[in-house]
């Protein structure tokens, strides 16, 4: 296997590497840039009072990334404000997912976390009303051809991404966490029932803590887009550290995973969070999530694939198998989302027929 990249070592033990040499910092920043983690590094070090240990030329890069992140955070808050205004008349509660939820709830996982779309979860029955209200307020479905429209509307768990005509911002409207074509999917009604208000914002909601962790796990281990793999793993790491301070959380998490048929992604989430980022997990929890363990052959394969794909996408963190690993995980993610024949047609189409973006 590949040696542990410097960036990963820094994420595990910020105190040990904050004062590293210029050459080491140069490499860590290159790895961080490709993993989109530069601003997260800034906040990680700042929280621990370690910024002064960072050599000045490297620290400058962290400060520049922080400036860009703060503008991003401002943009997210404004976008969420506009979404709430647009949906106010529908009476549909706005349940934020992932980055937007972390940002508005000011969770530790939000610090330095960059993302492009705001994700919301609504009941499937209210989808048309929500789409209509967004269109009235200036969002429009992107230029998707008839196949893409059908892909999203009939098979997937979300509308095609909608872009605001003026601000060019993107919103993904989900009605589930996994596609309708997936063989096992959590019941969206259960998730919505557990949603709770975000403090300080009357109209905003987020998933319950255990559900937020499980969604993050599903997104990481069922979604083929692993360029953000390390970022998403860091999300899990920070969510678990934050929510895990409540002892009841660790008891609820495996139970909830079974309720939502998400035992397998939870198993992977804890396994790789501990192996890659050394996330502290209380004794006994690993046993409790064993319900999701795959057979040993499959697990050995997954270790090889995720062990590579979760590292930064920088040449210094790859070996000759890394490209193959990423490809296989992309295929796997689509396999999990749709039946085999549909998958074959979908991959063929994406490879040969989609216009280049």
């Amino acid at each position: 296997m590949i040696a542990t990249p410097l960036l990963v070592q820094l994420l595990r033990q910020p105190g040990q590497l904050a004062g590293a040499s210029l050459a080491d910092w140069e490499l860590m920043l290159r790895q961080a840039a490709l993993a989109n983690l530069t601003p997260a590094l800034y906040y990680l070090l700042d929280e621990r009072g370690l910024l002064d240990c960072v050599p000045a030329p490297a620290r400058a890069h962290l400060e520049w990334a922080r400036a860009a992140f703060e503008r991003h955070a401002q943009g997210v808050r404004f976008e969420v404000l506009k979404i709430c205004q647009a949906l106010a008349s529908t009476g549909v509660p706005v349940v934020l997912l992932k980055g937007a939820a972390y940002a508005m709830a000011q969770l530790p996982a939000a610090a330095g976390r960059l993302f492009t779309d705001v994700d919301v979860l609504v009941p499937k029955a209210r989808l048309a009303v929500v789409e209509g209200a967004l269109i009235l307020a200036g969002w429009a479905c992107g230029h998707h051809d008839a196949y893409d429209q059908r892909y999203y509307r009939e098979w997937m768990h979300e509308l095609p991404p909608m872009e605001h005509f003026h601000r060019r911002s993107l919103i993904d409207v989900h009605h589930g966490l996994l596609p309708q074509t997936a063989s096992a999917r959590p019941d969206p009604a259960t998730l919505l029932a557990g949603a709770r208000p975000i403090g300080g914002h009357a109209a905003l909601h987020m998933l319950a803590p255990a559900d937020m962790v499980l969604h993050s796990a599903v997104h990481l281990f069922y979604d083929g887009e692993l360029e953000h793999g390390l970022r998403d793993l860091l999300d899990l790491h920070r969510l678990l550290a934050d929510f895990g301070r409540a002892p009841s959380f660790w008891q609820e998490l495996p139970i909830r995973a079974c309720q939502l048929a998400l035992a397998r992604p939870l198993f992977y989430a804890l396994r790789y969070a501990t192996s890659v980022l050394h996330t502290p997990i209380p004794a006994g929890v690993s046993l409790a999530v064993d319900a999701g363990r795959p057979n040993c052959v499959l697990l050995a394969v997954m270790d090889q694939l995720f062990g590579r794909a979760l590292l930064p996408a920088h040449a210094s963190c790859a070996d000759w198998l890394t490209g193959t690993a990423r490809f296989l995980l992309y295929v796997r993610a689509n396999w999990l989302r749709m039946p085999p024949l549909m998958l074959a047609r979908h991959l063929f189409r994406k490879a040969f027929m989609s216009p280049k973006a």
């Binding site: 210029l22 050459a23 140069e26 400058a60 520049w64 400036a67 860009a68 503008r71 996408a313």
Partner: protein, 303 residues
Amino acid sequence: MLTVSSLTRAELGERLARPGLRLQTGSFVTCIGSAIPAVADGIALLYAEYPLQDAGGFADFHVSLQGSGGLRRWVRPQVRFDYDGTRPFEPLPVAQAFALFEWSMNYCVSTRVHGYLLLHAAVVERDGVAAILPAPPGSGKSTLCAALVTRGWRLLSDELTMVRLDTGEIQPLPRPVSLKNASIELMRAFAPQAVFSRPVNATAKGTVAHMKAPTGSVRRAQERARPAWIVFPRYVAGAAPHLAPMAPARAFMQVAENAFNYSLLAAAGFKALTRLVDASTCYQFTYSMLDDAIDVFDRLTPP
């Protein structure tokens, strides 16, 4: 500190090929990798006096300009800009490799260095004070900049004006001045002693060449300057020189439109640009003859 000229052309080519040439421009160090001779030739000619970083230092950016693989190695060969694993631009014909290198150097700074207000503008200095020339297309900004720096003004930058967020001073980033089409011959005649690269045809911008930054500008790359004037140049064939004062709010909005990161810097950007416009007298400047333009600039008085 060693400079590029301390290497032989062969050594330069070897270092560019592997492990990369660590070149200092202004306050940045870029690790440059390329096996393309035109890139080495351009660096040898136009960056001779620029410092090379010692071993164990820190490079801010990593750029690589390499030929495309496969059939493209022989059929209409191309050059590709690789920004440490990302490819922000489409490949170009290999003849444009040095121009692509220059654009890639600008790209690195303009997309990352958010500790400064970054303007798409030329900036030149005399007696410690600087004139900023924002650059909408067709302004003739680069030609005017090239002319000024061959007539006693110091080159702080041809493309990227860096305004410090803490003090409001201009931080130099002197690099070769890019010239297009008719400006190339015009400048050769105007400044015969200056060093020019060989023009390259058929780029998206027409024919492109680069003029070497004056030695003094490179040597003084760490000396900051105070902004004094913002001048929006406009070349109009046959026009007599005319310097018209510009209302500060209007200048503010136009500079913001010519900035790379005004919006990204949020309130800090608003504050920095307010301070910049406050410190400067703003003008619109129409001209046709370079000698007229130099004369007008020489007679500018600081606010």
